[in-house]
Symmetry: C2
Subunit: 195 residues, 2 copies
Protein backbone atom coordinates (compact mmCIF):
# COMPACT_ATOMS: atom_id res chain seq x y z
CA UNK A 1 0.00 0.00 0.00
CA UNK A 2 1.65 3.22 -1.14
CA UNK A 3 0.43 5.56 1.65
CA UNK A 4 1.75 3.23 4.34
CA UNK A 5 5.04 2.65 2.55
CA UNK A 6 5.46 6.37 1.90
CA UNK A 7 5.10 7.38 5.53
CA UNK A 8 7.25 4.46 6.69
CA UNK A 9 10.00 5.59 4.31
CA UNK A 10 9.79 9.20 5.51
CA UNK A 11 9.85 8.19 9.17
CA UNK A 12 12.78 5.82 8.61
CA UNK A 13 14.85 8.82 7.45
CA UNK A 14 14.76 10.25 10.98
CA UNK A 15 17.78 9.66 13.20
CA UNK A 16 17.50 6.65 15.49
CA UNK A 17 14.43 5.32 13.69
CA UNK A 18 14.96 2.15 11.68
CA UNK A 19 12.65 0.51 9.19
CA UNK A 20 10.92 -1.60 11.83
CA UNK A 21 10.29 1.28 14.25
CA UNK A 22 9.03 3.39 11.34
CA UNK A 23 6.55 0.68 10.45
CA UNK A 24 5.39 0.35 14.04
CA UNK A 25 4.90 4.13 14.25
CA UNK A 26 2.97 4.17 10.97
CA UNK A 27 0.55 1.52 12.21
CA UNK A 28 0.18 3.45 15.45
CA UNK A 29 -0.59 6.65 13.55
CA UNK A 30 -3.28 4.76 11.65
CA UNK A 31 -4.73 3.24 14.78
CA UNK A 32 -5.04 6.44 16.78
CA UNK A 33 -7.80 8.97 16.01
CA UNK A 34 -7.16 10.71 12.70
CA UNK A 35 -7.36 14.12 14.38
CA UNK A 36 -4.40 13.24 16.55
CA UNK A 37 -2.28 12.32 13.51
CA UNK A 38 -3.41 15.48 11.73
CA UNK A 39 -2.30 17.56 14.74
CA UNK A 40 1.16 16.03 14.48
CA UNK A 41 1.36 16.84 10.75
CA UNK A 42 0.15 20.40 11.39
CA UNK A 43 2.66 20.94 14.21
CA UNK A 44 5.43 19.85 11.85
CA UNK A 45 4.31 22.22 9.09
CA UNK A 46 3.97 25.09 11.56
CA UNK A 47 7.46 24.32 12.83
CA UNK A 48 9.20 24.59 9.48
CA UNK A 49 7.07 27.60 8.52
CA UNK A 50 7.71 29.70 11.62
CA UNK A 51 11.03 28.75 13.17
CA UNK A 52 14.13 30.57 11.92
CA UNK A 53 17.62 31.13 13.28
CA UNK A 54 18.37 34.24 15.34
CA UNK A 55 20.25 36.75 13.21
CA UNK A 56 22.70 37.39 16.04
CA UNK A 57 23.36 34.10 17.85
CA UNK A 58 21.82 31.54 15.43
CA UNK A 59 19.61 30.11 18.18
CA UNK A 60 16.17 28.98 16.98
CA UNK A 61 13.50 31.65 17.13
CA UNK A 62 10.19 32.75 15.66
CA UNK A 63 11.29 36.42 15.68
CA UNK A 64 14.35 38.04 14.03
CA UNK A 65 16.18 37.99 17.40
CA UNK A 66 15.77 35.10 19.86
CA UNK A 67 14.37 35.60 23.35
CA UNK A 68 17.83 35.14 24.88
CA UNK A 69 19.38 37.90 22.74
CA UNK A 70 16.53 40.30 23.56
CA UNK A 71 16.52 39.49 27.30
CA UNK A 72 18.19 42.59 28.83
CA UNK A 73 18.83 40.78 32.12
CA UNK A 74 21.32 38.55 30.28
CA UNK A 75 25.04 39.40 30.54
CA UNK A 76 26.10 40.09 26.94
CA UNK A 77 29.80 40.21 27.80
CA UNK A 78 29.78 36.50 28.59
CA UNK A 79 29.36 34.29 25.52
CA UNK A 80 28.78 30.54 25.56
CA UNK A 81 29.60 28.84 22.24
CA UNK A 82 27.68 25.64 21.48
CA UNK A 83 27.42 23.33 18.49
CA UNK A 84 23.64 23.22 18.16
CA UNK A 85 20.56 25.11 19.37
CA UNK A 86 19.53 21.95 21.25
CA UNK A 87 22.61 22.46 23.45
CA UNK A 88 21.23 25.84 24.55
CA UNK A 89 18.04 24.15 25.72
CA UNK A 90 20.13 21.70 27.77
CA UNK A 91 22.22 24.46 29.38
CA UNK A 92 19.14 26.58 30.07
CA UNK A 93 17.47 23.64 31.81
CA UNK A 94 20.52 23.49 34.10
CA UNK A 95 19.80 27.16 34.94
CA UNK A 96 23.44 27.90 35.79
CA UNK A 97 24.34 30.38 33.04
CA UNK A 98 23.19 33.99 32.71
CA UNK A 99 25.21 35.12 29.69
CA UNK A 100 24.39 34.90 26.01
CA UNK A 101 25.02 32.19 23.43
CA UNK A 102 26.47 31.59 20.01
CA UNK A 103 25.42 28.57 17.96
CA UNK A 104 28.08 27.24 15.58
CA UNK A 105 25.65 25.12 13.60
CA UNK A 106 27.75 21.98 13.94
CA UNK A 107 31.35 20.97 14.54
CA UNK A 108 34.44 20.68 12.37
CA UNK A 109 34.30 17.30 10.70
CA UNK A 110 36.57 16.87 7.69
CA UNK A 111 35.20 13.38 7.00
CA UNK A 112 31.67 14.78 6.65
CA UNK A 113 32.98 17.74 4.64
CA UNK A 114 32.24 20.26 7.40
CA UNK A 115 34.92 22.97 7.42
CA UNK A 116 35.24 26.33 9.23
CA UNK A 117 33.20 28.09 6.53
CA UNK A 118 30.22 25.85 7.26
CA UNK A 119 30.10 27.09 10.86
CA UNK A 120 29.22 30.58 12.13
CA UNK A 121 32.79 31.28 13.29
CA UNK A 122 33.03 34.50 11.26
CA UNK A 123 29.93 35.90 12.93
CA UNK A 124 31.33 34.87 16.32
CA UNK A 125 34.55 36.81 15.71
CA UNK A 126 32.50 39.86 14.73
CA UNK A 127 30.47 39.71 17.95
CA UNK A 128 33.56 39.99 20.21
CA UNK A 129 34.15 43.75 19.64
CA UNK A 130 30.53 44.51 18.74
CA UNK A 131 29.02 43.09 21.96
CA UNK A 132 32.11 43.98 24.07
CA UNK A 133 32.54 40.31 25.01
CA UNK A 134 35.05 39.67 27.82
CA UNK A 135 34.89 35.88 28.03
CA UNK A 136 34.04 33.14 25.55
CA UNK A 137 33.14 29.76 27.06
CA UNK A 138 33.65 27.00 24.52
CA UNK A 139 30.90 24.47 25.24
CA UNK A 140 31.27 22.24 22.19
CA UNK A 141 30.78 18.55 22.96
CA UNK A 142 33.54 16.67 24.81
CA UNK A 143 34.02 14.51 21.71
CA UNK A 144 37.03 14.30 19.39
CA UNK A 145 35.39 16.64 16.89
CA UNK A 146 34.06 18.96 19.58
CA UNK A 147 37.54 19.29 21.07
CA UNK A 148 39.07 20.00 17.64
CA UNK A 149 36.40 22.64 17.02
CA UNK A 150 37.07 24.27 20.41
CA UNK A 151 40.82 24.32 19.71
CA UNK A 152 40.26 25.86 16.28
CA UNK A 153 38.03 28.61 17.68
CA UNK A 154 40.42 29.29 20.56
CA UNK A 155 43.16 29.97 17.99
CA UNK A 156 40.91 32.26 15.97
CA UNK A 157 39.96 34.21 19.11
CA UNK A 158 43.44 34.57 20.61
CA UNK A 159 44.46 37.66 18.55
CA UNK A 160 41.35 39.46 19.87
CA UNK A 161 42.59 39.39 23.47
CA UNK A 162 39.37 37.95 24.85
CA UNK A 163 39.45 35.37 27.65
CA UNK A 164 38.67 31.90 26.26
CA UNK A 165 37.61 29.05 28.55
CA UNK A 166 36.49 25.46 28.03
CA UNK A 167 33.75 23.66 29.97
CA UNK A 168 35.17 21.11 32.43
CA UNK A 169 35.30 17.44 31.62
CA UNK A 170 35.04 14.88 34.38
CA UNK A 171 32.79 12.28 35.90
CA UNK A 172 29.09 13.02 35.47
CA UNK A 173 27.33 13.85 38.72
CA UNK A 174 25.48 10.79 39.94
CA UNK A 175 27.66 8.60 37.74
CA UNK A 176 29.53 5.55 38.90
CA UNK A 177 33.32 5.40 38.77
CA UNK A 178 33.09 1.66 38.18
CA UNK A 179 31.28 2.16 34.89
CA UNK A 180 33.06 5.31 33.69
CA UNK A 181 35.28 5.02 30.63
CA UNK A 182 39.05 5.36 30.98
CA UNK A 183 39.33 8.64 29.10
CA UNK A 184 36.77 10.32 31.36
CA UNK A 185 38.51 9.03 34.48
CA UNK A 186 41.87 10.26 33.17
CA UNK A 187 40.34 13.71 32.48
CA UNK A 188 38.71 13.76 35.91
CA UNK A 189 42.01 12.97 37.59
CA UNK A 190 43.94 15.50 35.53
CA UNK A 191 41.40 18.26 36.27
CA UNK A 192 41.24 17.49 40.02
CA UNK A 193 40.84 20.47 42.34
CA UNK A 194 41.78 21.22 45.95
CA UNK A 195 38.98 20.77 48.43
Amino acid sequence: MSAIDDLTTELARLPGIGRKTAQRLTYHLLKQPADQSRRLAQALVTLVDTVRTCTRCFNLTEAPLCNLCTDVRRDGTLLCVVEDAADIAAIERAGAFRGRYHVLGGRLSPLDGVGPDDLTVGALLGRIPEDEVTEVILATNPSLEGEATALFIQRQLSPLGVRVTRIARGLPVGGDLEYADGVTIAQALQARRDM
Copy 2:
Protein backbone atom coordinates in the same frame (compact mmCIF):
# COMPACT_ATOMS: atom_id res chain seq x y z
CA MET B 1 9.15 28.70 21.69
CA SER B 2 5.66 27.41 21.04
CA ALA B 3 6.19 25.75 17.64
CA ILE B 4 9.08 23.67 18.97
CA ASP B 5 7.22 22.75 22.14
CA ASP B 6 4.09 21.87 20.18
CA LEU B 7 5.82 19.42 17.88
CA THR B 8 7.85 17.95 20.74
CA THR B 9 4.63 17.33 22.66
CA GLU B 10 2.96 15.67 19.67
CA LEU B 11 5.98 13.47 18.96
CA ALA B 12 6.27 12.46 22.61
CA ARG B 13 2.75 10.99 22.39
CA LEU B 14 4.04 8.30 20.00
CA PRO B 15 4.85 4.88 21.46
CA GLY B 16 8.48 4.36 22.41
CA ILE B 17 9.30 8.07 22.02
CA GLY B 18 10.03 9.90 25.25
CA ARG B 19 10.37 13.64 25.81
CA LYS B 20 14.11 13.65 25.08
CA THR B 21 13.86 11.68 21.86
CA ALA B 22 10.97 13.90 20.77
CA GLN B 23 13.13 16.97 21.35
CA ARG B 24 16.03 15.47 19.42
CA LEU B 25 13.69 14.64 16.53
CA THR B 26 12.23 18.14 16.54
CA TYR B 27 15.67 19.72 16.26
CA HIS B 28 16.52 17.28 13.50
CA LEU B 29 13.34 18.20 11.62
CA LEU B 30 14.34 21.85 11.90
CA LYS B 31 17.88 21.18 10.74
CA GLN B 32 17.04 19.18 7.65
CA PRO B 33 15.72 20.92 4.49
CA ALA B 34 12.17 22.22 5.06
CA ASP B 35 10.95 20.29 2.00
CA GLN B 36 11.96 17.04 3.64
CA SER B 37 9.93 17.85 6.77
CA ARG B 38 6.98 18.95 4.65
CA ARG B 39 7.12 15.62 2.79
CA LEU B 40 6.84 13.80 6.12
CA ALA B 41 3.84 15.91 7.16
CA GLN B 42 2.17 15.35 3.77
CA ALA B 43 2.76 11.59 3.92
CA LEU B 44 1.08 11.54 7.32
CA VAL B 45 -1.95 13.50 6.12
CA THR B 46 -2.25 11.29 3.01
CA LEU B 47 -2.08 8.24 5.24
CA VAL B 48 -4.99 9.20 7.48
CA ASP B 49 -6.95 10.49 4.48
CA THR B 50 -6.65 7.41 2.28
CA VAL B 51 -6.12 4.34 4.44
CA ARG B 52 -9.22 2.52 5.65
CA THR B 53 -9.92 -1.00 6.92
CA CYS B 54 -11.00 -3.73 4.51
CA THR B 55 -14.75 -4.33 4.83
CA ARG B 56 -14.20 -8.09 4.85
CA CYS B 57 -10.98 -8.85 6.76
CA PHE B 58 -10.23 -5.48 8.46
CA ASN B 59 -6.74 -5.34 6.95
CA LEU B 60 -5.58 -1.83 6.01
CA THR B 61 -6.43 -0.78 2.49
CA GLU B 62 -7.01 2.20 0.23
CA ALA B 63 -9.92 0.41 -1.53
CA PRO B 64 -13.13 -1.08 -0.05
CA LEU B 65 -11.54 -4.57 -0.16
CA CYS B 66 -7.84 -5.11 0.53
CA ASN B 67 -5.46 -6.56 -2.05
CA LEU B 68 -5.32 -9.88 -0.18
CA CYS B 69 -9.11 -10.31 -0.22
CA THR B 70 -9.30 -9.52 -3.95
CA ASP B 71 -6.35 -11.75 -4.89
CA VAL B 72 -8.07 -14.77 -6.52
CA ARG B 73 -4.91 -16.90 -6.19
CA ARG B 74 -5.38 -16.84 -2.40
CA ASP B 75 -7.05 -19.82 -0.74
CA GLY B 76 -10.19 -18.39 0.87
CA THR B 77 -10.97 -21.59 2.79
CA LEU B 78 -7.88 -21.09 4.98
CA LEU B 79 -8.19 -18.17 7.38
CA CYS B 80 -5.38 -16.76 9.52
CA VAL B 81 -6.61 -14.68 12.49
CA VAL B 82 -4.24 -11.96 13.72
CA GLU B 83 -4.48 -9.19 16.28
CA ASP B 84 -3.36 -6.29 14.11
CA ALA B 85 -2.86 -5.45 10.44
CA ALA B 86 0.87 -5.11 11.17
CA ASP B 87 0.93 -8.84 11.88
CA ILE B 88 -0.27 -9.51 8.33
CA ALA B 89 2.72 -7.58 6.99
CA ALA B 90 5.03 -9.75 9.14
CA ILE B 91 3.45 -13.03 7.98
CA GLU B 92 3.46 -11.89 4.35
CA ARG B 93 7.18 -11.09 4.60
CA ALA B 94 7.71 -14.70 5.70
CA GLY B 95 5.96 -15.73 2.45
CA ALA B 96 4.80 -19.06 3.91
CA PHE B 97 1.03 -18.53 3.87
CA ARG B 98 -1.29 -18.49 0.86
CA GLY B 99 -4.68 -18.24 2.56
CA ARG B 100 -6.63 -15.16 3.64
CA TYR B 101 -6.63 -13.17 6.89
CA HIS B 102 -8.91 -11.77 9.55
CA VAL B 103 -7.79 -8.84 11.72
CA LEU B 104 -9.28 -8.77 15.22
CA GLY B 105 -8.25 -5.19 15.92
CA GLY B 106 -6.56 -6.05 19.22
CA ARG B 107 -6.67 -8.71 21.90
CA LEU B 108 -8.90 -9.36 24.89
CA SER B 109 -7.60 -7.24 27.74
CA PRO B 110 -9.99 -6.76 30.65
CA LEU B 111 -7.55 -4.40 32.38
CA ASP B 112 -7.57 -2.07 29.37
CA GLY B 113 -11.33 -2.46 29.01
CA VAL B 114 -11.08 -4.44 25.76
CA GLY B 115 -13.82 -7.06 25.62
CA PRO B 116 -15.11 -9.40 22.85
CA ASP B 117 -17.38 -6.66 21.47
CA ASP B 118 -14.37 -4.44 20.80
CA LEU B 119 -12.88 -7.06 18.47
CA THR B 120 -14.16 -8.23 15.07
CA VAL B 121 -15.11 -11.69 16.38
CA GLY B 122 -18.70 -11.40 15.17
CA ALA B 123 -17.57 -10.68 11.63
CA LEU B 124 -15.15 -13.63 11.86
CA LEU B 125 -17.95 -16.01 12.80
CA GLY B 126 -20.00 -14.75 9.86
CA ARG B 127 -17.16 -15.43 7.42
CA ILE B 128 -16.92 -19.15 8.27
CA PRO B 129 -20.08 -20.22 6.34
CA GLU B 130 -19.96 -17.31 3.92
CA ASP B 131 -16.42 -17.99 2.65
CA GLU B 132 -16.72 -21.77 3.19
CA VAL B 133 -13.74 -21.70 5.53
CA THR B 134 -12.35 -25.14 6.44
CA GLU B 135 -9.53 -24.13 8.80
CA VAL B 136 -8.96 -21.15 11.07
CA ILE B 137 -5.34 -20.60 12.18
CA LEU B 138 -5.24 -18.52 15.35
CA ALA B 139 -2.11 -16.38 15.05
CA THR B 140 -2.63 -14.03 17.97
CA ASN B 141 0.58 -13.21 19.84
CA PRO B 142 2.11 -15.85 22.11
CA SER B 143 1.47 -13.56 25.08
CA LEU B 144 -0.88 -14.09 28.01
CA GLU B 145 -3.55 -11.92 26.41
CA GLY B 146 -2.97 -13.39 22.97
CA GLU B 147 -3.44 -16.91 24.36
CA ALA B 148 -6.63 -15.92 26.17
CA THR B 149 -7.96 -14.35 22.98
CA ALA B 150 -7.13 -17.49 20.97
CA LEU B 151 -8.87 -19.66 23.56
CA PHE B 152 -11.94 -17.44 23.52
CA ILE B 153 -12.21 -17.53 19.72
CA GLN B 154 -11.64 -21.29 19.64
CA ARG B 155 -14.65 -21.71 21.92
CA GLN B 156 -16.77 -19.43 19.75
CA LEU B 157 -15.80 -21.36 16.63
CA SER B 158 -16.24 -24.88 17.95
CA PRO B 159 -20.06 -25.07 17.32
CA LEU B 160 -19.39 -24.22 13.65
CA GLY B 161 -17.48 -27.47 13.05
CA VAL B 162 -14.50 -25.71 11.47
CA ARG B 163 -10.94 -26.93 12.16
CA VAL B 164 -9.19 -24.52 14.53
CA THR B 165 -5.38 -24.53 14.87
CA ARG B 166 -2.87 -22.42 16.79
CA ILE B 167 0.55 -21.31 15.50
CA ALA B 168 3.39 -23.22 17.13
CA ARG B 169 5.35 -21.79 20.01
CA GLY B 170 8.99 -22.74 20.47
CA LEU B 171 12.52 -21.47 20.22
CA PRO B 172 12.97 -18.77 17.57
CA VAL B 173 15.09 -19.90 14.64
CA GLY B 174 18.62 -18.60 15.07
CA GLY B 175 17.96 -18.09 18.76
CA ASP B 176 20.18 -19.36 21.52
CA LEU B 177 18.93 -21.90 24.05
CA GLU B 178 21.21 -20.36 26.65
CA TYR B 179 19.37 -17.05 26.51
CA ALA B 180 15.82 -18.33 25.98
CA ASP B 181 13.29 -17.83 28.76
CA GLY B 182 12.00 -20.80 30.73
CA VAL B 183 8.44 -20.64 29.44
CA THR B 184 9.60 -20.74 25.82
CA ILE B 185 11.91 -23.68 26.54
CA ALA B 186 9.08 -25.51 28.30
CA GLN B 187 6.78 -24.90 25.30
CA ALA B 188 9.48 -26.00 22.89
CA LEU B 189 9.99 -29.25 24.82
CA GLN B 190 6.29 -29.93 25.11
CA ALA B 191 5.70 -29.37 21.39
CA ARG B 192 8.68 -31.50 20.34
CA ARG B 193 8.28 -33.55 17.15
CA ASP B 194 9.76 -36.79 15.81
CA MET B 195 12.59 -36.30 13.36
